[in-house]
Symmetry: C2
């Protein structure tokens, strides 16, 4: 009867959250009681569990229904947003506005319902997913939410008196949503699951439609600045019906266009968190061993110091770049670009080098891979890889454009070098982070070592395995180097985040790609790719921190 104690765990982890849940929950029902009492705030007696299960049995296709809703809203949003961009006569910004506001109102109504009714119920949230809603995501959400709020205020101030151009609903949305996600992003909802799933996909698709609208608006705006003169701009799209009604207009406009990138980031952050919540609906969280990582810095020195130097140097060149790039003098602008390119190449090359060292050490260090199934980690890895595609695509388009035009002039050569090194760096860094997240932490007894001990009666050569663990437990030079690498990469990613997030756009200041592709296309590529790239840097910082703690 050795395995009887382990059995429920195995069954529970087999299907994290899909149609299969029903069966898995059914079989749990027949077992006396879970071996690890779930970590719950509020009623967790097993009597309640059974009731919840019974209630949920008939709703197997709820995740399907919510998915269909999500797809439909997204497709309709996509069609509306692109036609309002391509055909201003038939679909005016007003139509798009109405669609967006309907979505926002519905989403907020559901959020309020969830916060006031569902989450207050006794058995609504039996489990919390401690991996969901990490600090960096929440902090980012609040920061970007605040800036989005500011943007909406500026927008309303600009178009005051023109209610159809922008509406107060948009101001309320970031507040309600940030509040909602701050307090509920870890919930594994067990009640009203159908409604909650549909509400969450509604929120997800609203955020993605807002994101699409912002990206399109920003692209059109940037095309206008460069291509059309001021008189054209006023009569053209967007401004056509929403003319400014007072004096301080241009200032407000400038301000809110500066805030656009933050709004784009905000939508991405909220989407990621909503998606995690959706995955967690009806999920039964296993009582994970929470590794107590000890965070101490005394072992590492070279990495943090080098990283800090890099951050300072990066900040200095970034400020110089921002000052000089706006100057009239073309020589000064070119010099600013030159400095920016060189600094970036230096940073990225150093990062590639240190990541390579880290990867080699992983090869030498034959630690075990973690064996437990962890949906949040899979999602983390998925998000990391997906968001890196944004930077990848910009770099490859740059690369093709520069090579095809022959890379004449030092700026083109530097641009080419930057693109190549970035591709190498992101590839290596992804490898390093994913490898690190999948290794057993060094400083704790590995999760499956216990399992091996349970098996010990049947297996013969377990001792070898156990002794291997004890060897890897002592802090070795490998571990120190890995920590140095992590610390360095972490700081380097921060400076690579700061530069584009606060407005460095060498992609538009350097004109090679603009001439090569036409303007609209390059605009679309950068405006879709760059926000993902920025998200990637933040996500990489968080993941590297986790790898640091594990090593």
């Amino acid at each position: 009867m050795i395995f009887c104690r382990k059995m429920p765990n195995v069954v529970m982890t087999a299907h994290p959250s899909n149609g299969g849940t029903v069966t898995q929950v059914d079989s749990i029902q027949h077992l006396p009681s879970p071996p690890h009492p779930p970590t719950v705030d509020g009623a967790s007696e097993s009597g309640h569990d059974v009731e919840v299960v019974k209630e949920r049995t008939p709703q197997g296709g709820e995740w399907l229904l919510s998915g269909i809703i999500c797809i439909n809203i997204l497709m309709l949003g996509c069609a509306l947003v692109s036609s309002s961009a391509f055909n201003v006569v038939a679909i005016t910004p007003v139509h798009r506005q109405i669609f967006l506001i309907t979505l926002l109102v519905l989403t907020m109504l559901w959020m309020l319902f969830y916060m006031v009714v569902t989450s207050r119920k006794d058995r609504a949230v039996l489990f919390k997913d401690r991996h969901a809603g990490p600090v960096w995501l929440k902090a980012g959400l609040v920061l970007f939410g605040l800036l989005s709020f500011l943007m909406d205020i500026f927008k309303i101030a600009t178009y005051v008196g023109y209610l159809h151009c922008d509406s107060p609903v948009k101001v309320a949305y970031p507040i309600v949503q940030t509040y909602f996600l701050w307090f509920h992003s870890r919930d594994c909802v067990q009640l009203h699951t159908s409604l909650t799933r549909c509400g969450l996909t509604l929120t997800l698709s609203t955020n993605l439609v807002v994101w699409m609208a912002a990206v399109t608006e920003e692209s059109i705006h940037q095309t206008e600045i460069t291509h059309l003169n001021i008189s054209m701009k006023v009569t053209n799209y967007g401004a056509k019906k929403c003319t400014c009604s007072h004096m301080a207009c241009e200032t407000f406009k400038e301000a809110f266009y500066y805030l656009y990138p933050f709004n784009i980031e905000y939508s991405l952050f909220a989407s990621a968190m909503t998606y995690i919540m959706w995955k967690n609906v009806g999920r039964i969280v296993e009582h994970h061993k929470h590794y107590k990582f000890n965070f101490y810095v005394k072992d590492v020195f070279v990495g943090p110091v080098a990283g800090l130097l890099l951050v300072v140097a990066g900040l200095v060149t970034f400020v110089l770049y921002k000052i000089n790039i706006l100057k009239e003098d073309k020589d000064k602008r070119n010099k600013a670009l030159l400095i920016h390119f060189i600094m970036n190449i230096v940073i990225v090359s150093l990062m590639s080098l240190s990541t390579m060292i880290g990867c080699i050490i992983y090869r030498l260090d034959r630690r075990e891979y973690v064996s437990d199934k962890n949906p949040t980690r899979s999602l983390d890895v998925g998000l990391l890889v997906a968001s890196s595609l944004g930077q990848f695509i910009i770099s490859y388009f740059s690369l093709v454009a520069t090579v095809a035009t022959g890379a004449q002039g030092y700026l083109n050569v530097l641009n080419l070098a930057w693109a190549v090194v970035l591709v190498v760096e992101i590839g290596l860094q992804n490898y390093f982070i994913i490898e690190g997240l999948h290794r057993e932490p060094i400083n704790v007894m590995p999760a499956n070592a216990r399992a091996f001990q349970d098996h010990a009666e049947m297996a013969n050569d377990v001792e070898g395995q156990i002794s291997r663990y004890s060897i890897s437990k002592k802090p070795s030079w490998k571990r120190r180097v890995l920590r140095e690498v992590c610390a360095f990469l972490l700081l380097a990613n921060i400076i690579l985040w700061i530069m584009p997030a606060f407005g460095a756009r060498p992609q538009f200041d350097h004109s090679a790609e603009i001439y090569f592709y036409n303007y609209t296309m390059w605009n679309a590529i950068v405006n879709i790719g760059l926000p993902f790239g920025i998200f990637y840097r933040m996500h990489a910082v968080a993941s590297l921190f986790e790898v640091y703690l594990r090593d």
Copy 2:
């Protein structure tokens, strides 16, 4: 010790194919021997198993490496293909050609290596995934492979003497790849796993790049036909350096442009199969219970007959459409469109209606959900939903365009109605199929009923469950209706496949959307969306057949 017999299964299914495999295999090692002998051709002694495991331990990140390769090729391909479309001066078709041919040659070399070396080795393929490479996929692959082969022949005949325009390598590729996938699509490779994974992602990305190139070429071609006159066409893109060298040119050209859609489908099919193979590398297949479905038609009558009538009616109107749409007379063209629209609306409405009946019966019929984890089924569902997005996006863009222009004239009204009904039908059908695939088959003892019997000693209320199964086992009216619905939908999907696959393009014959969006954009939407839509219909037919057998 009741559970000891079940244990290995559970551990084995926990992690289908990722970094975790190593650990899971480790723990299997300590158990005496698999309870179900694997279904293998060739050496399957357990001694071999252990050796394989030992060999594979250090290569945990191989799937990561292959993923990075795939992303890089795809991004580079994407950049090259789009710049060769947008900037013909710097990136000529010749550059793109060189890139493509390099990829094709590398892929073929790897395929030959795999077929000659890897797969011949003793312990290379210990398991076969019986769910992979179903008949419909293989048959489609051969059909479309043949047509792609023909297309390449025509292309070469057109550009004879201009080797840089098209190369014999392209002719060899469909042959080698079809042969490779026909014989090896079910392999779960255990040897040279690093190389095999990388080779498979190379194949995958080659197919996707070929797909992108074909879609772009076809879009540009279609824009040319409609917008530019013949004299422009010869001097423009593609034909610029690759002028035709003999008399039969126009005929050949016409022929190969007809075959483009099949080539696009071919790339999608090959990509799907390669992806499944990649997921299966290093996978240890559990000995699934192979349900013996009995296929008999005597129960059903209404569904097949109605479906056949629909197919015949559809074929007749399709032929009429194809004849009349090419006529000079505008009235005849409009009549052809009218008939086509009405026929499609009738088909799709009937489908929606019957799917709705099916969904209601699923609600009434409280059968259990399947509990085993099955990667091929998850992939099937994923492909179904993803490919349906193609049709969704076309319909939504149509819908927005028609509504925005006010839907004047009967053709516009019909177009609008068609778009709406299609969206409803696809949503319902996806729901119906996914629900059907996740239910326990009626005519066999459900997979987890045995497990329940094993638990019987600990649980008290199992008898109720068992008796519930026995009730649902007898063929009821519900089951008959479900089979009727499946048969009808199956045939209806076939006619909806035939029409676009053999060249019905009302999207271009009816000009509302072309005027609303600009021509290039509508072209891109249809040319990306429609091949996925066609793939969706074929996939739906296959899935409905499976649902039919289960019910």
